[in-house]
């Protein structure tokens, strides 16, 4: 099981990082979603991987249990990343509608100043 979980985290992270590096709004949103899945699975494994174990201490004898804290952390992380993804989609949509471009990178052409200013810096 460790192998499956570990490779799942690895593959999800790799795919997420690749998609984020595409620097277009839609792949980046998908990529960040994949990254948040990866980190959620990763957080689960932080409390040791077990199956069929309750996340509470049993009052009856020696029954073992799984660490409940990572589950609480994952729950918080899921809620936050869900909300963040929604915000991101809205911002990306707003940005696309305003600028007709879904590029994340602030390119030179957008940032360049008005043509033909003869500021002090480039007066040669």
């Amino acid at each position: 099981m460790e192998m499956i979980v570990a490779s799942a985290v690895g593959v999800l992270t790799a795919a997420g990082v690749y998609l984020v590096m595409r620097l277009r709004a839609f792949p980046v949103i998908l990529g960040l979603a994949l990254l948040s899945y990866a980190v959620n699975v990763f957080l689960f494994s932080a409390g040791k991987l077990t199956t069929d174990m309750p996340p509470i201490l049993s009052p009856y004898g020696e029954a073992s249990y799984t660490d409940p804290l990572p589950q609480a952390l994952v729950l918080t992380a899921i809620v936050i990343s869900f909300g963040m993804t929604a915000v991101l989609v809205m911002v990306a949509l707003g940005s696309f509608l305003e600028s007709d471009s879904d590029r994340i990178n602030l390119g030179r052409s957008e940032n360049a100043p008005m043509p033909d200013d003869d500021g002090e810096g480039d007066a040669t």
Binding site: G16, V20, A25, V28, L32, L35, S36, A38, V39, F42, L43, S45, A46, G47, L69, P70, L73, T76, A77, I80, S81, G83, M84, V87, L88, V91, A92, G94, S95, E98, S99, S101, I104, N105, L106, E110, N111, P113, M114, D117, D118, G119, E120, G121
Partner: protein, 514 residues
């Protein structure tokens, strides 16, 4: 157990939905309540500083669960100082936003502002690393809304980039927390500070990884090289009052590095000692260089100020990277100063832009602003503070930082970076100021004798619009005048930060304090 510790978090959290739902159609009512809320937070913050100044570390246990199991808020001198800094800055920014009408250019400015305030205060007060993550997310999600307040093509695009880089940072934060929890079994800062030194060096690979991951996350927030690239675009395209408020956001990153990498991973922990400092120092030098070069090369006022913020973060992190009490004292002084200097610059730039028809290109072809003399004087004062010339606090701050960085291997790079960076910054600001305020009269399209422009010059800024800037510049002066008492407080603060045993004892309740 004093309940006032949680008040700076609770009050904005309660106020924000009320403003958002009840006062959404009445901007004046929202302004009154928002300003009243900020004033109340300021009063509470003053009370907290008085409480913490005695040197006592107070712990607030949420739900009264004892420390390693429940979440705690911890108030010490550093937290109190940062909350006070936030409250003062928030009040100034709110006054500016209300006076200039920025808050009416989009919806829910005040509600988002209060949420932002809640997140920042919470991040400064929490004593739990996962809770720090949660407060980071709160302040970020509010800042996304504020960043794109008012809309517009460039701002939306810059906002999208800002959201993406911060979401990537949040993911990294969670990875770091997972690693940390897996190795130590706790996320409470005091408990971590107790656990990490017990890890022997040969088993420390994972905790060292977590240290560096957290450093990268906080470096994203603090805009340190090589993750500084988002700052100029975001800050220069954000609405001016929001950019001024963001002056404290980079300091949240700096605060986290000071707190986590000193108290938890700092001196005394064999596994991670010196790890952060070795990387922070070159990163800070390069950040400072990029900031200075950007100030010199910027062709618009917004990016110019954003790059000067970058330079100031470089100077601040140079002081932090020494991880020594004296350097930290200097760094904290510079932190307080640079927050107000950056805010003053952004607010002045907003007044200048408003009178140049919203155009902040550094060009001589635009007519001068209507109140050229006043605005030039304010810009001059703020630039003097940011560049680090006497008589304002920037000079003292840089002097203190340089005085603290005297170690043989450090002095060459640090002094060269700070001195050369200051010189280049001075040149950059002088160029920008002269282009903006002096040269434009010569080339104005229809110059009349007083040098007033014809078309672009809009109404003059009223006293209420100038007052926040004047107050900020006044604070910068006061920081210089009262540098003695302030440095005394900060010296006690850094002494307290390096007193790991005291912190652990109070938070975990092993030394009987509460």
């Amino acid at each position: 157990m004093s309940h006032w510790i949680i008040a700076p978090v609770i009050l904005p959290a309660l106020l924000a939905p009320v403003i958002g739902f009840v006062m959404r159609h009445d901007i004046r009512l929202a302004r009154v309540f928002s300003l009243a809320g900020a004033l109340a937070v300021l009063a509470i913050a003053l009370g907290l500083v008085v409480q913490a100044a005695g040197g006592e570390t107070s712990v607030y246990r949420l739900g009264d669960w004892p420390a390693p199991f429940g979440i705690v808020l911890v108030l010490d001198r550093l937290s109190a100082l940062m909350v006070l800094l936030t409250a003062v800055l928030a009040l100034i920014v709110l006054a500016h936003a209300s006076a200039t009408g920025w808050d009416a250019r989009g919806r829910h400015f005040h509600a988002l502002f209060q949420f932002q305030l809640m997140g920042i205060c919470g991040a400064f007060l929490t004593g739990d690393v996962f809770n720090l993550f949660v407060f980071f997310e709160i302040l970020l999600i509010a800042s996304y809304g504020l960043m794109i307040h008012g809309g517009g093509r460039d701002r939306m695009r810059a906002g999208l980039q800002y959201v993406v880089i911060n979401l990537a940072g949040s993911t990294l934060f969670l990875f770091a927390l997972g690693v940390l929890y897996a190795t130590t079994g706790t996320l409470n800062m005091a408990d971590l500070a107790q656990e990490v030194p017990q890890i022997p060096l040969e088993e420390a690979a994972l905790v060292r990884l977590a240290t560096m991951l957290l450093l990268v996350v906080f470096a994203v927030k603090a805009a340190l090289f090589p993750v500084q690239f988002w700052l100029p675009g975001a800050y220069s395209n954000a609405p001016a009052p929001v950019a001024a408020l963001f002056a404290i956001m980079t300091k949240v990153g700096a605060y986290s590095i000071i707190r986590i990498h000193t108290t938890v991973f700092g001196p005394g922990a064999e596994a991670t000692e010196g790890l952060a400092g070795d990387w922070l120092f070159p990163a800070a030098v390069i950040t400072l260089a990029i900031g200075a070069a950007g100030v010199l090369g910027a062709r618009r006022l917004g990016p110019l100020i954003a790059f000067s913020v970058l330079g100031s973060m470089g100077t601040l992190m140079l002081a932090v990277s020494a991880f020594a009490p004296a350097a930290l004292t200097a760094g904290l002084y510079y932190l307080v100063h640079s927050t107000f200097a950056a805010a003053a610059l952004f607010l002045v730039a907003d007044l200048v832009m408003a009178q140049r028809g919203g155009n902040d290109t550094l060009t001589t072809t635009l007519p001068a602003s209507a109140q050229n003399g006043l605005l030039a004087a304010l810009f001059f004062a703020a630039a003097v503070a940011m560049a680090g010339m006497p008589p304002l606090s920037g000079f003292l701050g840089k002097l203190l930082v340089m005085d603290a960085l005297r170690a043989p291997g450090v002095i060459g790079w640090a002094w060269a970076a700070i001195l050369a960076g200051s010189l280049v910054t001075i040149v950059g600001f002088a160029r920008a100021g002269s282009v903006l305020f002096w040269k434009s009269t010569a080339k104005a399209p229809a110059p009349d004798p007083e040098g007033r422009g014809t078309a672009a010059a809009t109404g003059a800024a009223g006293p209420m619009q100038v007052a926040p800037v004047l107050v900020t510049v006044g604070i910068l002066g006061a920081l210089a005048i009262f540098a003695g008492p302030l440095a005394g407080y900060l010296e006690a603060t850094s002494g307290q930060i390096f007193d790991r045993a005291g912190y652990i004892g109070v938070v975990l309740g092993t030394s009987g304090g509460s």
